[in-house]
């Protein structure tokens, strides 16, 4: 079997996108009634649900209480049916534990934590279908859910991945591109201030190209921000129409 051609000479990626193009994003806020905030996002074939509870009292051990800020508690899991091969994924496996940690760190930086001392915010993320960029979709979904819950954020947190093939940076890589062995940079930013809250790199990438690839990821975050922002605005106007708050 010949290897896959990730980027053709004509500048098309495997799925027909050009290097700088994102996958199609569809999302929705307020999908659950019982959670304080919830959101659903599709980035291409990656589909993620996020639900937010809180801020509420600390549940469980009192010793976890932080007196100057809120405790952000995340839980990431993948549905058994989320990949091509059905596979049992126990909640506590290393991969999802790592992802949980990453999400927690990301949102610790983005939530205005000092506004809710001695309380807790829970973020639950479930990957329904996985096709690359699970972290990014989880972050984006969680942001929307947090917004839906009305929790004070410094800014949207948007995440986007990028890769580097044939001297060209690719944005928002899918599963095939992810698993091909080319380098991968995952960035979560606060797009307005262009601050990076989370940056991860896998694979080998020459230092000279690092800034190009990172820029691509950051640019992707900005593009995603535009989309999310539009969705939030539409959602708010829709809700306000329903409640008659328009004037």
């Amino acid at each position: 079997m010949a290897g896959l051609e990730l980027l053709s000479d004509q500048g098309f990626r495997i799925d027909g996108r050009r290097p700088h193009e994102l996958r199609k994003i569809q999302c929705r806020l307020g999908v659950f009634n019982q959670a304080d905030g919830s959101a659903y996002i599709e980035q291409g074939n990656t589909k993620v649900l996020a639900a937010v509870y809180g801020p509420h009292e600390i549940r469980g051990s009192r010793s976890k209480v932080l007196h100057d800020k809120v405790l952000v508690n995340c839980q990431y899991s993948m549905a058994t049916f989320s990949t091509g091969e059905r596979k049992r994924r126990p909640r506590g496996d290393r991969k999802s534990q790592e992802m949980t940690m990453h999400l927690q760190q990301t949102f610790d930086a983005a939530i205005q934590t000092s506004l809710y001392p001695r309380s807790q915010i829970d973020i639950f993320v479930e990957v329904l279908q996985s096709d690359g960029g699970n972290y990014c979709a989880s972050v984006n979904a969680s942001t929307l859910a947090l917004i839906d819950a009305g929790i004070a954020l410094r800014d949207y947190v948007c995440a986007c991945s990028s890769s580097f093939v044939n001297d060209t940076p690719l944005t928002d890589i899918n599963y095939l591109e992810e698993s091909s062995g080319s380098p991968e940079i995952i960035a979560a930013t606060l797009p307005k201030s262009e601050q990076i809250v989370f940056l991860e790199m896998n694979g080998r990438l020459h230092e000279d190209n690092l800034s190009r690839v990172t820029d691509m990821a950051v640019k992707g975050c900005k593009d995603i921000h535009d989309i999310l922002d539009q969705v939030v605005r539409d959602h708010v106007s829709e809700v306000s129409t329903v409640h008659g708050w328009e004037n």
Binding site: M1, A2, G3, E5, S8, D9, Q10, G11, F12, I14, D15, G16, R17, H20, E21, L22, R23, K24, I25, Q26, C27, R28, G44, N45, G84, E85, D131, N174, L176, D223, D226, I227, Q230, V231, D234, H235
Partner: protein, 1053 residues
């Protein structure tokens, strides 16, 4: 749901999903969904484009505006006729993405790279058009639509779109090899033509490029042959196979590749079929494509071909490994036997892939990309293996170990990987290691953990008889005169004998075997190790023990003068030597004398007492009167023993026991001895005495355990020979007008005695060795696994038989010891003993290991044979020998050279098809001619005249070397003269033995420098062991010989 599109994009993308069925690593089917984005502006790369859809980079070529048409090849054309499209004259080709994908996935990487290079070459002015990313030129694959149909539909749709996109400025030609595509799409659009490649080239290019049609024709021709030759078919799914096996539609069996015609012929022996009913149970698998990626030894599922496609096997002697492809495959009708059941392999139940010894081919350049190299396995029956390694240069003259990993459908050779190197080709250690690996024998040193389990016997801590054992065992130390008779210099004595007259006048005969099971408890590490080794392996110059040395050479060895544990069988025989009573049990003995064969024989022949004393150390340094007395007692015991054995044997021979002695075995036995520089001895009566006693013991033990464990006793049987195997023997016999009857072992034994030519002692030996070849293999089995009527031992003419007398070097004997002890102890606890099922598996394993060790032994002997002749000048006197013809083939004869015991083919027709003629002055002339074979003669007709050879004629042959780089080197026989060799065969056995002895001696001495001391020691023991195998019984020994010769011929013919 709100939806939003990607910003910064002038036009909307349309998203859809593509469903693929892939296979994952485990080979399971997997449904994969991939998304695809489509847009309206995909660059068409045409200079004529009006809509300005060109990309801004200049890297890709542009379709010119000045050609008469654009060419759109379909998938098949691009894959198979890319060479035509690569011609510099052809420009303006549009390769669709669909086509490029198909080239990549259905073709191979090289082809795809060629395609990409073609497109990158701007002079060709050809482009790849991403039709699947264009909104309007894409068509979705319908449910159930087959790939090829979808590909041609996509191709046409894209061609059509291209035409419209360029607003009809230029005609488009789509080329395809499918007629129905032309019929379907040919006249849909005015200026989109659909043609076959031939039509297209004829129309557009024949005037300009007349040679182009030749190119196409030659490609087409090579395509046809390729598909015929090596296109493998996928294996059937397991449920289909299972159903097919049950209904008998398919047959299952082990694949056995013909060594001398490995690329063409292989046979599948049907599994679990009553072979007596089904004589032609072998199914021929002809050619590599019907063998379908199976490798020698695999358990395969075969589908029989219709009778019209059955083929015959070749009757020509071929040199091993020579390829017959260039001969055109069509053999003369005379060279092929009548048709036999032919089939093709449809699935593989179990792979038998193991480690293979291989070599890089000698001259081949290995500049292949990715470091892929072909390795030629040592075994002719294994196909070449493709491995990737960067160490080719370093390992070029090494033998290496490789493993097969996979064999893809589209790959001519299996893929494998490099494991390790064995050393340089031609070095003794390398070759011996290769022999071991090829026979799958793994012999490492015993581990410390194993050694810790064993008792110690050192200077500081001598081993002593335990008190409680003393109580538990019958003490024979005072009551019986126990002695052993073994070859001279033997260190591990596992059998001793005793004989005495009882008060009632009856004779008491005792066989005392070393009690190995006392030291080797079931389940211990030593037991595990012994089980996995199953047997001590003897190579020509070394051996690999089954048990650690502390047991085999010390504590289990029944040396004279020390107390040892034993398991005894003691019979009371009446005056006519019929057993009236038999006792089995554990004993403690102290052997009084350790005799060797020659002295025992001499004593019975009446050797004077002082001579005896000189040769028996136990009798020395004693008072005069004692000596006389003791010698007298010993002498009478030996005589008595021989007397008893004589009667036992006579009774057995009356029952039809076969005596199939052949020169070979004696040679093999003597050869190890030579290292100690002893003169080979003749066959003595006392050999038979010992053998007979052992057979007797084995037989009675078999009786006992079969009775105690009717469903789980380990016995040894020797099935009836298959009638058709006697064919060659009968043909040879009729050539000399002998009558050979093969109805029963008795008839065979008697009729073989009559095949005697007073002037030619070789004939009788040859006849016996041919009979030996016809024998089946003796094998261990569990009584629960076979019906009662298959328990018998054909060669020994006994109804029950097992192995009991050599527990030091055979694992089967250890199991039998345990069973015997359980049988006599009356303890109902049989938990330590294997159940029928376990025993079945165990006996299979032991049989397998035995065969492997025998093959290894044979290989190593051949190696030494080769090394011996390597040092000789071919004109040397010893290389020209007398040989007897024993089989006729279409292009030569098989001969036996009795002087060295070498069997092999002599060609009368060489590879160029010329036949040989011996001139009166002894010169050989090769010329055109023919060979006519009848039942008993083969005649060579050449321009010089006609010469014929009869079966059992003597001819003169020269032994030359058959050097081989990748395989084992051997010797080859060449015709020198059609007359018997002058020095004749009168030398007989003695000369033969000496000759053979000299071979090994010389070779060993030359090869061994540093470990000379050790090896000679090893060899001594080795010899003893071998002798004892022989000592089992002369016929049993033949059994062993029988495997060998049987294997040999099976592999050679």
């Amino acid at each position: 749901m709100s939806r939003k599109m990607i910003p910064n994009e002038e036009k909307e993308l349309e998203k859809s999903n593509k469903y693929l069925r892939l296979k994952n690593v485990q080979g399971r089917n997997l449904l994969v969904v991939r998304e695809v984005y489509r847009r309206e502006t995909v660059p068409c790369h045409s200079a004529l484009c009006l809509s300005d859809c060109q990309p801004n980079n200049n890297e890709v070529g542009l379709l010119p505006a000045d050609v008469t048409h654009y060419l759109v090849p379909d998938c098949q054309v691009a894959r198979e006729y890319l060479e035509v499209l690569e011609l510099p004259q052809l420009t303006g080709i549009v390769f669709l993405q669909t086509v490029a994908h198909s080239v990549q996935h259905e073709g191979n990487r090289r082809l795809h790279t060629r395609l990409k290079n073609l497109v990158r070459d701007k002079r060709k002015a050809s482009v790849i058009f991403h039709n699947e990313f264009q909104k309007f030129s894409y068509c979705e694959r319908l449910r159930g639509e087959n790939l090829a149909t979808w590909q041609s539909r996509s191709t046409y749709t894209a061609a059509d779109w291209f035409y419209n996109h360029l607003a009809g400025q230029i005609p488009i030609v789509m080329v395809t090899q499918y007629r129905q595509v032309i019929a379907e799409y040919g006249n849909r659009q005015m200026n989109v033509f659909v043609l076959t490649l031939q039509e297209y080239l004829d129309t557009f290019w024949k005037m300009i490029l007349p040679s182009i049609t030749d190119l196409v024709d030659s490609i087409t021709a090579s395509l046809e042959t390729r598909t015929k030759d090596k296109d493998y078919v996928g294996y059937l799914p397991s449920d289909v196979i299972e159903a097919g096996l049950k209904t008998g539609h398919y047959t299952q069996g082990f694949l056995n590749v013909n060594k001398s015609n490995a690329s063409q012929e292989a046979f599948v022996r049907r599994k679990r079929q009553d072979q007596r009913e089904d004589r032609d149970s072998d199914i021929l698998i002809h050619g590599m494509s019907s063998r379908n990626r199976a490798v020698h030894g695999d358990l395969v599922v075969v589908e029989l071909l219709p009778r019209s496609q059955w083929q015959g096997r070749s009757n020509v002697i071929r040199e091993e490994g020579t390829d017959t492809k260039d001969k055109g495959g069509k053999d003369d009708s005379g060279e092929v036997t009548s048709v036999m059941t032919t089939g093709r392999i449809v699935a593989i139940s179990q792979r038998a892939w193991r480690e293979y010894v291989g070599t890089f081919s000698q001259g081949e350049e290995t500049g292949l990309k990715g470091g892929k190299v072909l390795v030629i396995p040592w075994d002719y029956r294994i196909p070449k293996i493709r491995i990737s390694t960067r160490q080719v240069e370093a390992l070029r003259d090494h033998r290496i170990v490789v493993r097969i990993d996979s064999w893809d459908l589209e790959s001519q050779y299996p893929n494998g990987h490099f494991v390790r190197s064995l050393g340089r080709i031609g070095e003794l250690e390398t070759e011996v290691a290769a022999i071991l690996i090829e026979n799958n024998i793994q012999m490492s040193t015993f581990s410390d953990a194993q050694m810790k389990e064993l008792p110690v016997d050192t200077e500081e801590e001598p081993w002593k008889v335990e008190e409680e054992e003393l109580l538990r065992r019958r003490d024979l130390r005072g009551s019986h005169l126990v002695f052993s008779i073994d070859p001279k210099g033997c260190e591990d004595v596992d059998d001793t004998l005793s004989v005495r007259t009882l008060d009632n006048g009856n004779t008491e005969l005792g066989v005392h075997i070393a009690d190995v099971t006392h030291f080797v408890k079931p389940g211990t590490l030593t037991d595990q190790e012994g089980k996995s080794r199953s047997t001590t392996v003897y190579l020509a110059d070394r051996r690999y023990d089954m048990l650690p040395g502390i047991l085999s050479a010390n504590l289990c060895s029944l040396i004279s003068g020390v107390d040892r544990y034993a398991v005894s069988v003691i019979w009371e025989l009446d005056s006519s030597y019929n057993p009236v009573n038999v006792w089995y049990g554990k004993t403690i003995i102290r052997s009084s004398y350790k005799l060797f064969y020659e002295i025992a024989q001499a004593m019975s022949d009446g050797m004077p007492t002082h001579e005896v004393v000189k040769n028996v150390p136990e009798l020395q340094n004693l008072p005069e009167s004692d000596i006389k007395n003791k010698t007298k007692v010993l002498r009478s015991a030996v005589c008595r023993l021989m007397e008893v054995a004589r009667h036992l044997k006579a009774r057995r021979v009356r029952g039809g026991a076969l005596e199939l002695e052949s020169t070979e075995v004696q040679i093999q036995l003597t050869e190890t001895k030579s290292v100690e520089n002893l003169t080979p001895k003749e066959h003595l009566e006392v050999h038979e005495t010992i053998a007979e006693c052992m057979i007797f013991a084995n037989h009675w033990v078999a009786k006992k355990i079969a009775q105690a464990f009717p469903n789980s006793a380990l016995l040894r049987h020797h099935p009836l020979p298959r009638e058709e195997k006697f064919e060659n023997l009968l043909t040879c016999a009729s050539a000399k007008n002998y009558n050979v009857h093969t109805d029963s072992s008795k008839a065979l034994a008697e009729s073989l005695d009559t095949c005697d030519d007073a002037n030619d002692p070789v004939i009788n030996k040859l006849m016996r060795s041919l009979a030996t070849m016809a024998m089946s293999n003796a094998a261990y089995f569990s009584t629960g696994a076979l019906p009662l009527d298959q328990f018998f031992h054909y060669g020994l003419a006994l109804d029950l038989y097992t192995h009991f007398t050599s527990p030091i070097r055979r694992y089967a004997d250890i199991v039998v010891h345990r069973q015997l002890m359980a049988a006599v102890s009356k303890v109902t606890d049989t938990s330590g003993l294997p159940s029928n099922k376990e025993l079945e598996e165990l006996s299979e394993h032991i049989n397998h290991q035995h065969r492997a060790s025998q093959n290894a032994q044979r290989d190593s002997q051949e190696l030494f044979q080769y090394l011996f002749f390597k040092g000789r000048n071919p004109e040397d006197e010893c290389c020209t020998v007398d040989a007897v013809i024993y089989q006729l083939r279409a292009n030569g004869v098989f001969v036996l050279a009795p002087r060295y015991g070498i069997k092999g083919p002599v060609y009368l027709k060489n590879k160029e098809g010329q036949v040989v003629y011996v001139q009166s002055d002894g010169q050989l002339e090769w010329s055109g001619g023919s060979i006519i074979k009848t039942d008993h003669t083969i005649s060579v007709q050449s321009m010089f005249g006609t010469q014929s050879y009869r079966l059992l004629d003597h001819i003169t042959v020269r032994i030359t070397l058959n050097n081989s780089w990748a395989h084992s080197s051997g010797v080859r026989l060449e015709l020198v003269d059609g007359q018997p060799h002058l020095s004749g065969s009168s030398g007989g056995d003695n000369l033969t033995k000496q000759q053979k002895a000299a071979i090994i001696k010389e070779v060993s001495e030359a090869a061994e420098e540093k470990k000379g001391q050790r090896s000679s020691h090893d060899l001594g023991v080795n010899f003893e062991e071998l002798k004892k195998e022989y000592g089992q019984s002369s016929s049993d020994h033949n059994m062993y010989n029988l495997f060998q010769s049987f294997k040999e011929t099976a592999l050679k013919c």
